[in-house]
């Protein structure tokens, strides 16, 4: 799996901990990494992703449907799942303020629901680390 993920575009390093099933992916400084592609590559390598968290820096924007999104590259943004923290960031929408957040992009559905790796990833903000 480490090699499989390491081959994905924009990936600098992959650290795998067999003991706790943790996989740390460090993106290249100037590379554009696609979390959905990483999730797919994980499935393709024969393991099940239970959870995916991301730390990212970007601008808060409003998407075409009026919802909030975190824009991390000119052509890459993640729609925010509404919660208390996303409400706090609403005032920053459309401004030049950069925010660094940690959030959950994917969590394996509970029960018998089947995961759909092709579904668009939404970011549930867990922590706002910086506003600048």
């Amino acid at each position: 799996m480490k090699q499989h993920l390491g081959r994905q575009s924009g990936v600098q390093t992959v650290e795998v901990s067999l003991i706790d099933g943790k996989v740390d992916v460090t993106p290249k400084e100037d590379g554009q990494i696609d979390p959905a592609q990483l999730l797919k590559a994980t499935y393709d390598s024969g393991v099940t992703a239970a959870e995916m968290d991301m730390t990212a820096r970007g601008k808060i924007v409003k998407d075409s449907s009026g919802g909030l999104a975190l824009q991390v590259a000119p052509k890459q943004s993640f729609v925010l799942t509404a919660n208390e923290l996303s409400k706090e960031l609403e005032a920053l929408a459309g401004t030049q303020t950069m925010v660094t957040v940690r959030g959950q992009l994917y969590k394996k559905p509970t029960g018998k629901k089947k995961a759909d790796p092709s579904a668009p990833l939404k970011l549930l903000i867990l922590e706002v680390q910086k506003k600048e």
Binding site: V23, G58, V72, M98
Partner: protein, 35 residues
Amino acid sequence: MNTRRLALLALLVSIASTAAQAQIKHIEMRVEGMT
């Protein structure tokens, strides 16, 4: 003198723009079924 100032300004702008870059900094996954 002006050339040196311009070079310094260009360097500072370059540093500032790199620092202001939006990007994914880190991704962490928890996986199941790994052997």
